[in-house]
Every structure is written in structure tokens, then in C-alpha cells.
């Protein structure tokens, strides 16, 4: 019998990206770009990344260490303002257990020729899977990947 509980948390991460808002936004909107930075730690196995980037569209991907728990991400896009804002709702599963549901808001703000990315997550952790520090850490790692990809693309052109 599962002990039911919830824990609510909010955190915000800001990141300066050395590219324009248009380029930063494209890394979210283009399925191939998104699949390159929206990945787990090195060594993880991964399923196909599916992305239908439009209001009402869905996104899903799963991954995990070989032989370990599978992390499953499933999102619904709620609000998209091109080059300015993305709001989505998403759930995380570990194997077959739902561990959290979140609202994620990403804002793209101009900073000269660069972009200030402001990401706010409002999360409800379910039934004791209360890992806000790990969630924040994991999200920062994704932004590291994003920044590296954008730098790489900028140098390549």
C-alpha cells in the first residue's frame, strides 16, 4: 500500500547564452537540435526522442543507465510564443512509477546580441520522491549541454 504524499517546490535557473534569441529558440523548436542537448548523463542509453513542437503537441523520451531504472519524460506544450516563451507541463516516471508532475516556463530575453534564458519549474513530487536538488542539478546539466551545442554551432558557421 503506497504511502501518499506530495511536496511542492519552485526553482528558477538563469543562463546566459552567447547567441540570439532566434537561435536559442530554434534549439528548442527543431526536433533534431532538441534531441542533441536534451540528453541524460554520459553512458546512459536512450530511446528515440519524439517532439511535436506546437501548442497541444507532445514530447517524450526515456533513458537511463544500462540495466538501471528507466527515466521516462512525457510533456505537453501549453503555450508557445516564438522566440519569447515556452510553457509546458510534464511528468517523470521511474520505471512504471510516476514521481512528479511539473510546469516548466522558459523565457528568452535579449541581452545585447546574446540571450538570457530564464527557466522556472514548479513541481509537485509524488509519494516521497522528493528530489528537488537533484531535479535542479539535472536541469542545469541540460543547460550546460544546450550552451555547448550553441557555441559549437556558432563556431561552425
Amino acid at each position: 500500500m503506497t504511502d501518499r504524499s506530495t511536496a511542492h517546490a519552485t526553482f528558477t535557473i538563469e543562463r546566459r547564452l552567447t547567441v540570439s534569441r532566434e537561435k536559442a529558440f530554434r534549439a528548442y523548436a527543431d526536433p533534431r537540435s532538441k534531441a542533441r542537448w536534451f540528453v541524460g548523463p554520459e553512458g546512459w542509453e536512450r530511446s528515440d526522442h519524439k517532439l511535436d513542437f506546437r501548442e497541444g503537441g507532445r514530447e517524450s523520451v526515456s533513458g537511463g543507465p544500462p540495466g538501471g531504472l528507466i527515466h521516462y519524460y512525457n510533456a505537453l506544450y501549453q503555450d508557445i510564443v516564438p522566440n519569447e516563451r515556452i510553457v509546458l507541463a510534464y511528468e517523470m516516471h521511474m520505471d512504471s512509477t510516476r514521481i512528479s508532475v511539473s510546469l516548466g516556463t522558459t523565457e528568452f530575453k535579449s541581452d545585447g546580441k546574446a540571450t538570457r534564458l530564464v527557466y522556472t519549474e514548479q513541481v509537485v513530487f509524488l509519494d516521497g520522491h522528493d528530489h528537488v536538488a537533484a531535479r535542479e542539478h539535472g536541469t542545469r546539466a541540460l543547460f550546460d549541454n544546450l550552451a555547448a551545442l550553441l557555441e559549437h554551432e556558432a563556431q561552425a558557421t
Binding site: R4, T6, H8, V87, V101, L103
Partner: protein, 171 residues
């Protein structure tokens, strides 16, 4: 040109009801039950209300004052534990304009005498909804509410007709 902004905010409401958790939960789980309490304003007849109450299911409701803006509520259910918990995300539109996206968690705790219902909303309020149209809408809602308060007062026999007429004339 809409000035873009996104304000995250969280609030919690606790309520105690003298009914068992299963019954309070059931009040959220069907269109028939929700029609009795769940619209923003009692006086607004819904143009549409659909509910598919299951994980992954959707809900859609269109309400609003006669001749006024359409209030459109659209939700997706993410987690349902019968009798215990509901988690859904929803957005609100006023006509074509999205004004918020929210994540709502409702928990039902058995307590002596009935149920404690805990409602937590984690919302993002969009685009500085305080322009002239918004204020006008707010005023209209205020007037509608005044009408309702007066009507309820009449129904309860607490106000006689002349008092009601005087107040209507004064507003």
C-alpha cells in the same frame, strides 16, 4: 503589441467538509457533479462542458457572462489516485487570449468528522493581464456579482423589492 511577462505563483487552500473523502473526490470526477459547483460564476451558463476523467483525459469548459467574453478552461489529468489525489494542468483563455497556465494538486485526507481537502495551485500568470479590456471585464464581473448578491438576497427574503430596485439604480 502584447507586453510579454510570466509570473509564477503558488497558493494553497484547505477546506474541511463533513463528508467522506470518497464523496468529496467523486464531486470532482463527473460532469454532473461539477456542474453543481465548479464554474467560476454560478450565473454563467456553460456553453460547453466535457470531462474525460482518467489519467491522460481532458476537460474543457466554456462559460462566461451573456454577451461578454468567453472564459475557456482546458485541462489535462496527469495523476489520479481514487479517493486520495488528483493532479491536473490547465490553462485559461479569455476569448482568444491565454491568461494563465497552472498545475493543480487536490488531496483528500480523512479526518474526524469528514475530509480535509487541500488544493494547491502552481500557476504562471501571463502577459500582464491588466490592460483596459481586462479591467472592463473585471468591472463587468463585479456588476454580475452584485446582481447575484442582490438576487440571492431577494431569494432569501432578506431584501424587499424596493431596496433591490434602489440598489440597482444606484449601481
Amino acid at each position: 503589441m502584447i507586453k510579454r511577462s510570466a509570473l509564477p505563483a503558488t497558493f494553497t487552500i484547505n477546506r474541511h467538509y463533513p463528508a467522506k473523502p470518497a464523496r468529496v473526490f467523486a464531486a470532482w470526477a463527473s460532469v454532473e457533479a461539477k456542474a453543481r459547483w465548479a464554474y467560476c460564476d454560478e450565473a454563467w451558463k456553460p456553453q460547453l462542458h466535457e470531462l474525460d476523467f482518467r489519467v491522460g483525459g481532458r476537460e474543457r469548459a466554456i462559460t462566461g457572462p451573456a454577451g461578454g467574453a468567453r472564459h475557456i478552461f482546458e485541462a489535462v489529468y496527469w495523476d489520479i489516485v481514487p479517493g486520495e489525489r488528483i493532479v491536473f494542468s490547465y490553462d485559461m483563455h479569455l476569448d482568444a487570449r491565454r491568461i494563465s497556465v497552472s498545475l493543480s494538486t487536490i488531496e483528500f485526507f480523512a479526518e474526524a468528522g469528514g475530509t480535509r481537502m487541500r488544493f494547491t495551485e502552481q500557476g504562471v500568470f501571463l502577459d500582464g493581464y491588466d490592460d483596459v479590456a481586462g479591467r472592463e471585464e473585471g468591472t463587468r464581473i463585479g456588476l454580475d456579482n452584485l446582481e447575484r448578491v442582490l438576487r440571492e438576497g431577494l431569494d432569501r427574503g432578506e431584501l424587499d423589492q424596493t431596496e433591490t430596485d434602489r440598489r440597482r439604480a444606484a449601481s
